[in-house]
Symmetry: C2
Subunit: 430 residues, 2 copies
Amino acid sequence: MITGLTVHDVRFPTAAAGDGSDAINRGDYSATYVELTGDDGVTGSGLTFTNGRGNELTCAAVRALEHHVVGHTVEELCTFEGARTLTADVQLRWLGPEKGVIAMAAGAILNAVWDLRARRAGKPMWQLLAELPTADLLAAVDFRHISDALSRDEAAAILDKGLAEYEERLAHARDAGLPSYTTSVGWLGYPDDKVRDLTRRAVADGWTAVKMKVGGAIDDDVRRARIIRAEIGPDALLMLDANQVWDVDEAIANLGRLAEVDPYWMEEPTHADDVLGHARIQQALDTITGGRCRVATGEVAANRVIFKQLLQADAIRVMQIDACRIAGVGEVLAELLMAAKFGVPVCPHAGGVGLCEYVQHLAFFDYLRLTGSMEGRMVEYVDHLHEHFTDPVTVEHGRYRLPSRPGYSVELRPESIAEFSFPDGPAWRG
Amino acid sequence: MITGLTVHDVRFPTAAAGDGSDAINRGDYSATYVELTGDDGVTGSGLTFTNGRGNELTCAAVRALEHHVVGHTVEELCTFEGARTLTADVQLRWLGPEKGVIAMAAGAILNAVWDLRARRAGKPMWQLLAELPTADLLAAVDFRHISDALSRDEAAAILDKGLAEYEERLAHARDAGLPSYTTSVGWLGYPDDKVRDLTRRAVADGWTAVKMKVGGAIDDDVRRARIIRAEIGPDALLMLDANQVWDVDEAIANLGRLAEVDPYWMEEPTHADDVLGHARIQQALDTITGGRCRVATGEVAANRVIFKQLLQADAIRVMQIDACRIAGVGEVLAELLMAAKFGVPVCPHAGGVGLCEYVQHLAFFDYLRLTGSMEGRMVEYVDHLHEHFTDPVTVEHGRYRLPSRPGYSVELRPESIAEFSFPDGPAWRG
């Protein structure tokens, strides 16, 4: 039984430094941070990431959903029916549906519920998930509205196969870690010299895959891309991210110019809701690059129905799940299972606050239980704000190491909560 | 210059009566109600409709957007660049993007801005819009992310043509009013006898088009549909609305059974985000009904990009815009123009609180300036809560009459605001 829920509005003043700036966002990285208490004294932590202003809205949404959580059990809330009490509340649903503020608040809460479950089991989240019986994992997945793309039987077959190969995969994951890439070299807010220096340092640190932001003036984008390609050499991977600023035809035209730097993927080339537009862009990229460059999106995709269509329409060849924009672990499971069925690699969105901590578990689970392949899989890494977590990620030579402590790894240090609480923490006063 | 913004959390206790209940919603119809004051003392009123719980979130979102409004002019906020300061705020955007709580709050505010503009001009909103020069209307439309479906030149041609035929169309609109249909006969919360009585009364009142809710047990849906069809006779139109509860294949199977009542349209057969699913359902309906039954959706469609795809994919043959889920008049204009280009009739979503008041203006504008046709056009009508407005709709013999008072018609009576303010109004105390 869950007996208590507390929510904190925690904001880090990152906007001034230009960290995290891109074609459309310039944020103070923030967390709507949820702490649950169980009747056994075990706690659970979850958060949703926001960009500063408006974090009070996701906090208020958590409070609006609290009555579906307190007094209920972890077991019921880890089923899709339990999750639906939050995402399909007969009144709050209208504010989405299944998207935006309500979905994000549900994500913070439901992730905290799963964290509590993992802590009770004494296992890191990846391990809890990877070792659950197939029936228990299926119980968490809402097949409503995705049954035309993934049946329960298909999902069960994927999960059963993974269980059979679990020990072998685990040994490899422990040994090899998970491939990663860095997004710290090319924010739009950085001048050319800083981009060059950061890229050089990333190469020295062992990174062989880097991502840059595009979507400014196209000449500037091309110039910055050439700088980075020159620094990383021809064999390393260079990913581009336009954060949705282009129209469909504009994206196709700009990719005609950016193709010279041999991009590995083109992330968020246009509006995130535009399934048909992404499909057209992927078709054009097949022509322009002979299929070398893949369309990638997902960090703001609202729910499993959007991901379903992106897969059905062959609109993406890299699927970028987010851990807390959508309504928590059960929704992520649905998305990972669909990607596995369609054979599209998942490269989770991270950065922000706590997103690296979250998604490492999901990526290891995806490898261990669903795909057994690291081919084309990479987890985003951004070296911001990890020091505020009690169990920060470990990334060595461009690879995530398997986390070992129980839970979902997004527990904030008490002193960080106090310092950065908005508006009354010392960091925000005066 | 706008000098003041006030927001009220107004809720009407409708849930208990079963009014407005359907397959997924059971709400206390509510308004996030915005009042603006201009430096000339003229006021503007706008609202977004919510379903009860969570109305405090849209109210808080209005406050989060206030600094983009107060101190700015009506003229700048009526352009797409001005509207973007609300919908693409570099921090708040993350909470959507362009959907959910932030979009709805922006809708309430921007509609209030346009109301203020219309009051200053001394014209009802339909007239303000229908008489604006083409360039001024185009200035309000954000073509970003829809330029692959509608060019500026195509929009201009549609608007210019409408201006040339304006006087003739206006005479007809004044004379004929706008066709309408009623949704008051078949809420899921009503027993069979009440459905039969309400349908009989609707026929007596002159209604020749009625809508019922489906999405319960399919046998119940078929039984209730037969009752209504028997009452209205073979020539009246019967529309079905499933409020998104079905999976795609389930919708197709259920429509195989419901086809016997000759439905005119099938509204929200599946998840609102599922463009490809709606397209498959329309294809199936073409087979099942020989093209007689049309897929309709839009009341929770988040933005112009979703509507764009529904049109591109031939997924809908009736487009149901909403006046305040999306980010206000400019966004609606984009949607109406796309529908006009694709030749799909617009039948606005109404009901709730103030939605009939709002959309009558949009539907008259659509006729007067964009399409010049009433063929297949109907505005939803629900006979709830009109008494709380200072300029309620007039519907006679199933037709909306042209409004005559200045503004956008969603000004609430001060005594209604006081009575139903949440949580401190007399209606909610005790």
